[in-house]
Symmetry: D2
Subunit: 438 residues, 4 copies
């Protein structure tokens, strides 16, 4: 089974049931389902009904909507087909919480999600409990045919967990009271001087890229295929806030020669002068975070920058963004460890740059923008069926990001994972790592 | 003391302290203050934190914001000046809940009010209690100088009570679940046939118009002055939904010859086919109301129509809209009775048309659009001072409505009262009454 | 016969044939027709085909379009009905050059008029000659029934002569080469110091306003009716550029307290800092005029200001704008003399302020903004018929201007003449005169 | 010397002077220069001053502007540096006719080009003559250092020749009179039944792609590098109008499952139902062409479709768009022959599909959309210098087209040539050819 995720309008999947070869013990499935579902609820602890209802921009969705939509997924594709329509919790919820599956029916206008003050957060939780109870019954059958939908539904929910975090941050950043999603934690004392960049060299040549099809993947991660790489080097760590400030001080945001044409037009139109959420006060730069507003941590990776900004920074630095093939090739075989959501930091952390071994931060902290447009791999073929109706439809005008972030669910990441957003988007935990030709 | 009300951005006032001539017993003041303030809280009973937070369009404000802004008024103009800045409940609330008083400082962007999930509704109630306690202390002094601000603050709050109702209706109308602000009540059985329109004739001549200055008024209601009227007649009741349906059936919304040029452009741009909140299903017209969605009551006055629509209807009917002078002249001396908010109906009701005596419904039910642009009366002069900084600034591009509505606080209305909105606005309880030349 | 003119989309009329009482000698008619038609052609002397084709904004029309549309009027309403459809010059011209008469058929989209590079200016002239020849034949019959259409068509053409001038100025003002419509002429040496304002006092009382119906008028000028005026005074001359500069220097454009709410929003949105066409260079203010760019003439009336600006200036000056009734009352009985288009100046000129007698400049130089919204006079009733289909439809959201300008055809003006534009428009020769209460 | 071409804002180049190795005989240079320059003038024969001035959309430029801008290029980069600033024809022309070279100075706002009624077409021709005379003097020196600028300037001018044609077509298509750029020619009698598609198979494997650097290229065509291809097949001819009509009849424009997400959003927003310039009348489809409006030629390649439409068609047809590498690999070694501008057809022509040999129409007729985003080849490095200031800045959000069109100058095309436009653009002669995996 494969599926592929997110875009301007979120989350589309495709099932390839023939990929499913083995059933797991039913008990494991219930446990795994419960864990992911519980994680979602844990995220909204401390959020009020109002917090969970508001929508701060068209790209974002209310927390309540994330909770309900991921539940609707299981109701629509698992519970209703197996237990009957009468088991639906509410006749209108399919209309309200469908995201974009045309074949499943009409749906509520995306930009109006924030006006759905009803159902309340409590009722959405009741909806979740209702569907979870039915899912427990179904999963306990251990039917192997359930596996693709379970894998997909849970991967889907994990993606929405990340979006829930980035959307709440965006909402709270609009509030002059600067609400804290989680209590502040002490900022690690960084080294006073800039951590030097160590460059890691790669030979290139013919490399194999993409997922081979073992285990769950989203379909855009395959097919696995060969590609050619010229020798290149990667920075040992992501670009830091300290470096970004130097870019700003040297007029990075005002020199059109550094920018893609569409990028500089966006700088002018949006008045960009710094990463999203940054504010200057009394000579200091502050950033709004999930732990409230705080002084920018100079040695942490820069985040909330667009592809346009990342590309301009790289040009200013005399380097370039890596391709997604270069990053995937570099990360192949490394353990999938890093600062993911389970760390509880909810912010990127200081990186070392690794004098020996692999570069640091290839996983977690910030999604790293690449220079690769999000397009199909050779022989990529969307599958049919209801869930997969829109597969591939976002392969236009978006750029690939790699590696996951501090808001990504642990266990969600893979070496072949392709995230993608339009080049002007900044509200994800997106940063960059420099690359060079050798 | 005078003040003047509402526009696209809401509510501005002007004080003329010299008008205040007498003090009332302090106890009466506390009682009056408490009554109005309590009425506001009664309106939000049954609203959730989320209901009270959402903002469904730029013209509307969240219920929570209405509660806080009216409280801020007393804090800013009465409590802080008399008890000191330290008595302010929260240092940021002036920024958040100031509406448009530039001289008082910066303020939160109006279209982003719906993103203020904090403070919560409960905290806003606590804010109200804090200010009310201080106000009780201040009012108990019986200081005559308090009178203008008390009158003004309470009139201000009553205006926001009406807006709170129309804004909640607009919000709930966006929700496919069609929430009910108040439980449905049985619809009165109307007469099966159309209630005939009785025409009441007026001689005109030289008439005195505007407020003479006794008692509280908004400043735009004066100065009192003479005006000339030619003989005219007024319909004995407002235009009904039954009549509006006939206008629709005869193609009223598609014949440009019936419309003002700007009006028809709006019809096309907005796709208007019926009053706001009307939906056709299975051959029946339904309207969203504060008591949920229900079949359109054919014999009730039409409401939620714009000035453009009212003007086109009058042309179609071979009549015209009355001027505000004609309406004020007709209403002079009549008791101020009608279907106001205290009736609890929260919807316009069947009218009789009054075969003898005065026309029915001149007060209450629906605001009646006039053909009069909202401009200054002769010798109108805005006063100075902080509260009055913007007096008169809305006298451009708006049309006068008269008589109050089913959402207007009882006791708030006057014969000289001038309400005003841009001619394309429909979310108030706005209808019309026909007039003719004699 | 009456007709009424102009708005955002231009020029609508209404015929009342019963008003026509006498025929004139046919020869006079031909002569009068020829004179007005020739004047139109004289205006485009020196314009290239391209000059006559371009459209610099939606509010403006190409010179070629003005020439063709005014011709179409005679073809549509006189020639075709009397000589048959076969006499039409070109089958598509009715579609191309109809302005907004829905009953006459579809029409070319207004904002695309500048894309009609064909027909050429020469072909439009041939079109004019063709229609003129037919008109000469028809007018030579001396048929009294022709009179209303002749009067209306020529008044219509005179209005377009003024628009042609203001539209060409707007076009040339967009060109960095600053083309001259007419060669520059020496600027009169003004008095070095400010010409003092003399105030002329008026008693007011009951006055008769509007046209009595003798001679040609546009229908909005009547019916004649009584109105009440309180005592007032008018400035002896229009506001000058010198005074406007003082307003600018004292921060007039940045103080919201001086402005109507919609006005200040426009100032911000449009970045207004000075009248339209003004540019500051090396410490001097220059204005683009029909004679090229030249230093602002300090003692000439300010022009190309909107109603919003005029209103703010008056407030800043401690005065107010006059009502249209005050101006009409003041001008009644005065000779209709002033700086109109035939002077060839094509710019407002120095005024004296008239120590004795009437104020200067009440006619010509600049249209004077009033505080009066453009609404119907009492008992105003639009007539029926094709030409009058849209009568009155522009009576919403616009403000009355009085007196004519340096671009108005001589003979076109009347004491009762009501011009009107939306309050944000600036490309007409619009200025102001101050008024005060007594 | 290399240079790179066109985007939303047009035409940027980069010089690499070190590439220039040999001088040509001066006489040949003058002849070549004269030929290209003369071709430009030949294109505007029959255009009026107004035709050459109007700008029908932001993406397009006036014909006059194309003539002047290409001339400014030689004045700015050749004449002025060699003969001095005093040789400039007019001091303002650099401001008016610079396209986007920031380092060269400010420039006139692109969307306002259509308002430049002055200078006239005749004066622009005089400007050309002035610069041409100076260029003749300079070129006659035979200085080898001139070669890169000559190559670049002429390639630049050829690109603008194509744009001039597509921009005039767009302008004339807005005119209800449907002007003909060139007189109509008889339409070839096509075969009554659909020409079958022959599929040509390619082995793929490792291929060399990009320009090796001999002869003039735009810099984005290199560096030459290896790439991997899986086996694929290409249709023997471009998709025809007959096939496109079938796509339309089968609901291609209304089925979201066929479209990229951004593509279908554009279909809805723009109301697309057919290729640009198509109109249905009385059951027939007509298309506006450079020879006026005519019945759609069923057997000619479809043109004026966007990338979105081409992609949807391919999906509907069970095929896909080729990559640019596949097309370049297939075309390598073929003679550069086809229906280019010199044919005088100014429209794509019937193709055969070639049962043997190479596919037909790989060059000329219509630009063929590929599935390749326009990005840098590996090791692509923009050069420095004034002309090259913006190199690569358009490598974002655009798609590659290959092969040239019926509006491309003969001699302009190369196997490695990369044209590019945003995926929603339709006013170029853009079509498609299907590809399949083997």
């Amino acid at each position: 089974m494969r599926a592929c995720v997110r875009g301007r309008t979120r989350n589309r999947f495709i099932l390839e049931p023939q990929r499913i070869v083995e059933a797991a013990p039913a008990g494991d499935w219930v446990q795994r389902y419960t864990k992911v579902r519980t994680n979602s609820l844990a995220l909204v602890e401390g959020l009020s009904d109002a917090d969970a209802t508001a929508q701060s921009m068209d790209d974002a969705s209310p927390a309540k909507w994330h909770l309900a939509h991921t539940t609707w997924f299981f109701e629509e594709f698992v519970v209703a087909p197996r237990m009957g329509e009468s088991e639906r919790y509410h006749s209108s919820f399919s209309f309200l919480f469908n995201s974009y599956y045309n074949s499943v029916g009409d749906r509520h206008a995306r930009p109006s999600r924030g006006l759905l003050t009803r159902p309340s957060l409590d009722e959405v939780k009741a909806y979740r409990a209702h569907v979870d109870a039915n899912m427990a019954k179904i999963l306990s059958t251990g039917d192997a045919a359930l596996r693709p939908l379970l894998d997909l539904g849970l991967a889907h929910e994990e993606q929405h967990q990340e979006l829930l975090l980035t959307d709440i941050l965006h909402l709270f950043a609009q509030n002059p009271l600067r609400p804290e999603f989680r209590p502040p934690e002490p900022i690690a004392v960084g080294n006073a001087t800039e951590s030097p960049v160590v460059w890691h060299e790669y030979e290139g040549g013919k490399v194999s890229i993409g997922a081979s099809g073992e285990g769950f993947i989203f379909d855009c991660e395959g097919p696995r295929h060969d590609a050619l790489l010229l020798p290149y080097s990667l920075a040992g760590r992501a670009v830091t806030n300290r470096e970004w400030l130097e870019f700003m001080r040297e007029g990075g945001y005002s020199d059109p020669l550094l920018w893609l044409s569409d990028g500089f037009a966006t700088v002018i139109a949006e008045g960009w002068q710094a990463p999203l959420y940054w504010t200057e006060r009394d000579g200091y730069w502050f950033a709004m975070t999930l732990r409230g507003e705080r002084v920018v941590d100079l040695d942490a990776p820069v985040t909330h920058v667009s592809h346009y900004e990342a590309d301009a920074f790289a040009r200013w630095a005399g380097a370039r963004l890596p391709t997604e093939i270069e990053l995937e090739s570099a990360v192949a075989g490394l353990p999938i460890e890093g600062n993911f959501a389970a760390s509880g930091a909810f912010a990127p952390r200081l990186q070392t740059g690794e004098l020996s071994g692999a570069p640091s931060g290839l996983y977690g902290d910030v999604w790293e923008w690449t220079s690769s447009p999000y397009v199909a791999y050779p022989r990529y073929a969307p599958a049919g069926g209801a869930i997969g109706e829109y597969n591939g439809k976002f392969m236009s005008g978006q750029m690939v990001l790699r590696g996951g972030s501090c808001a990504t669910a642990n266990g969600h990441m893979r070496a072949t994972y392709r995230n993608f957003f339009h080049p002007d988007k900044r509200w994800q935990f997106s940063g960059l790592r420099l690359a060079r030709d050798l």
